[in-house]
């Protein structure tokens, strides 16, 4: 901020930005506040903003009634599992595309991107039937496969843009010094690639955690993650606003924190490296 800005202007823009920021954030804040109310107070008109008897009973009830931790562990297993499998496939692919590009590499990348444009509803019915016949409905394994395929293009793209930035000369130098391919990988490439891989992992765990088309359609209970659990509050339990809020707060809090750390990766990953 090298530009000189008058105090008046600074005050106005700051106030406006804070006001708008607060308004956008308010629904989340309101959910958190409501989670600490009793059901009666959650429903009261006029609404109570801060002055009510704060209680944590909702959190206990949510866990007790619905075995909340099972849904959390499903969410964790699905999002982390699918991302790890995808990395296993994507790291070699992105590595090869970045360091030994062939004539068709650019086309291949565009093609991968284009698979993301295929709407899931075009695949829903057959995937559902195949899963039914293979006994994969409501199984974590089946869902991991779907989420892995869903995010694979983004993961390849992200890794590709990160690997592209690793200077090829370093690899050449290592090769000149007689490093084998294996050594080149472990000692030269890996240390430089780890930050990019970590960013990719972070963003894709977030995307998989919030995925709510396949998780809703392919699970019922055993493999249901938090998205599906929250959906079960739609009615008539949705009338229990305080419990809905407690369940929601727990479902979004961890990913919100991760998301705040992942802002830069988000920009880069979801714009396919076009905006950095």
């Amino acid at each position: 901020m090298a530009r000189a800005v008058s105090l008046r202007r600074r005050t106005i823009t700051t106030a406006a930005a804070w006001l708008i920021g607060f308004l956008i954030f308010f629904p989340i804040l309101w959910t958190v506040i409501t989670s600490f109310k009793t059901e009666l107070e959650a429903f009261s008109t006029p609404p109570k903003f801060l002055f009510f008897e704060w209680t944590t009973e909702n959190y206990g009830i949510v866990q007790e009634r619905s075995n909340y931790l099972r849904f959390v562990s499903n969410s964790l297993i699905l999002s982390i599992g699918s991302t790890l499998v995808a990395l296993l496939f994507a790291i070699p692919a992105a590595w090869a595309m970045a360091f030994a590009p062939a004539k068709r590499t650019k086309d291949l990348l565009m093609w991968m991107l284009s698979t993301k444009m295929m709407p899931p509803v075009g695949a829903l019915i057959p995937v559902y039937l195949i899963f039914r016949d293979l006994g994969l409905l409501d199984s974590r394994g089946g869902l991991i496969v779907v989420l892995f395929l869903l995010n694979l293009p983004i993961i390849v793209w992200m890794l590709y843009t990160y690997f592209k930035e690793i200077p090829g000369e370093i690899l050449e130098a290592a090769r000149m010094d007689g490093a084998s391919l294996w050594k080149e990988l472990v000692y030269v490439l890996a240390p430089m690639a780890v930050p990019g891989i970590a960013s990719t992992l972070l963003l894709n765990v977030i995307l998989a955690w919030n995925e709510a088309f396949w998780t809703l359609n392919l699970t019922t209970s055993a493999a249901a993650p938090l998205t599906a659990f929250i959906a079960s509050y739609s009615s008539p339990e949705g009338l229990f606003w305080a419990k809905l809020s407690a369940a929601s707060t727990m479902a979004i809090a961890p990913i919100l924190v991760l998301g705040w750390f992942a802002q830069k990766q988000l920009v880069r990953g979801l714009t396919f490296g076009a905006v950095k």
């Binding site: 823009t13 008109t45 595309m97 993301k116 509803v121 019915i125 694979l152 709510a212 809703l216 929250i230």
Partner: protein, 287 residues
């Protein structure tokens, strides 16, 4: 330096990803096309028969189908308009000298990380409830008649909650892009006393052309596929889009043939959109 060996190795490294993605794309699509030509009801198994384009005929003569396409398109365009225009304005604001910008940015980006089912239920109940919702209370306190959102304006209600999630995304991308604008250019414009509007039109907007294109592309992909917000709020009747209709026809009505025909229409629609987008992107990304 690409020797025969590395080239082979490269192919081997790329192959697994390409193969699984290819299968993921082609197998379900082929099956959907196949099913769409059958009379195939899950309640009547074993009696599948080839009926040609009959499912498409049914679908295309059904008013709910056109309503669903209409809803799909309205949803995409409304949310795009709100998030792109709002995103540009917000990004311009946040690019000013602001005390505590980091915290403001955290607040602005937060909704993007909220899972769709949470956003849907929180908005539907705690904000848009016609009696006890916060919006109803606000409207009553200024003397207005509260709106029963999901009864009167279901699609608008869905647009509001989806836009709430995507405005932050657009803002973050565009802000990142604006901030990469050359400081010296900004200063020069300021020293020359460039009026804000021409500064925006001649300096900022051209710089944003590419990020805006990317935002439109990404959001369109996701917005065409909005499902959870409609499913969870139970507004699929009046505000159902194409994904919802296919789900409804296939998994609730067990009409595999009909649902598959709907799925194929969704694929064609997405491809039409993608065709224009890719051209637009291609023009913008080359430079």
């Amino acid at each position: 330096m690409a020797t025969q060996q590395t080239r082979l190795l490269g192919r081997l490294a790329v192959a697994p990803s390409v193969i699984v993605l290819f299968l993921w794309m082609i197998v379900p699509l082929a099956l959907t096309i196949y099913f769409s030509l059958l009379r195939y009801n899950l309640l009547d198994p074993g009696n599948e028969s080839f009926v040609g384009l009959l499912n498409y005929e049914y679908f295309l003569s059904d008013p709910t189908f056109f309503a669903a396409i209409g809803n799909s398109l309205k949803l995409v365009f409304a949310v795009l308009a709100i998030s792109v225009i709002g995103g540009i304005l917000l990004a311009l604001l946040l690019d000013q000298a602001i005390v505590g910008l980091n915290i403001v940015r955290l607040m602005v980006i937060a909704p993007f990380f909220v899972m769709p089912t949470v956003s849907a239920l929180v908005w539907k109940n705690m904000f848009m409830h016609p009696v006890s919702g916060l919006i109803a209370w606000l409207m009553k306190s200024v003397g207005l008649e509260p709106i029963d959102w999901f009864a009167q304006y279901p699609l608008t209600a869905v647009v509001i909650m989806v836009a709430w999630q995507w405005l932050p995304f657009a803002t973050l991308i565009l802000l990142t892009a604006i901030q990469s604008l050359d400081e010296e250019q900004k200063e020069a414009a300021e020293m020359d006393g460039t009026p804000p509007l021409s500064y925006f039109y001649y300096i900022v907007l051209p710089h944003l052309a590419r990020p805006i294109t990317v935002v439109i592309l990404i959001e369109t992909i996701f917005l065409l596929n909005v499902f959870a917000e409609i499913y969870v709020t139970g507004s699929g009747g009046p505000a159902g889009n194409l994904p919802y209709l296919v789900y409804f026809q296939g998994l609730l009505n067990f009409d595999v043939g009909g649902a598959s025909a709907g799925g194929i229409v969704a694929v064609v629609l997405a491809n039409i959109v993608a065709f224009f987008l890719i051209r637009m992107i291609g023009r913008n990304l080359e430079g």
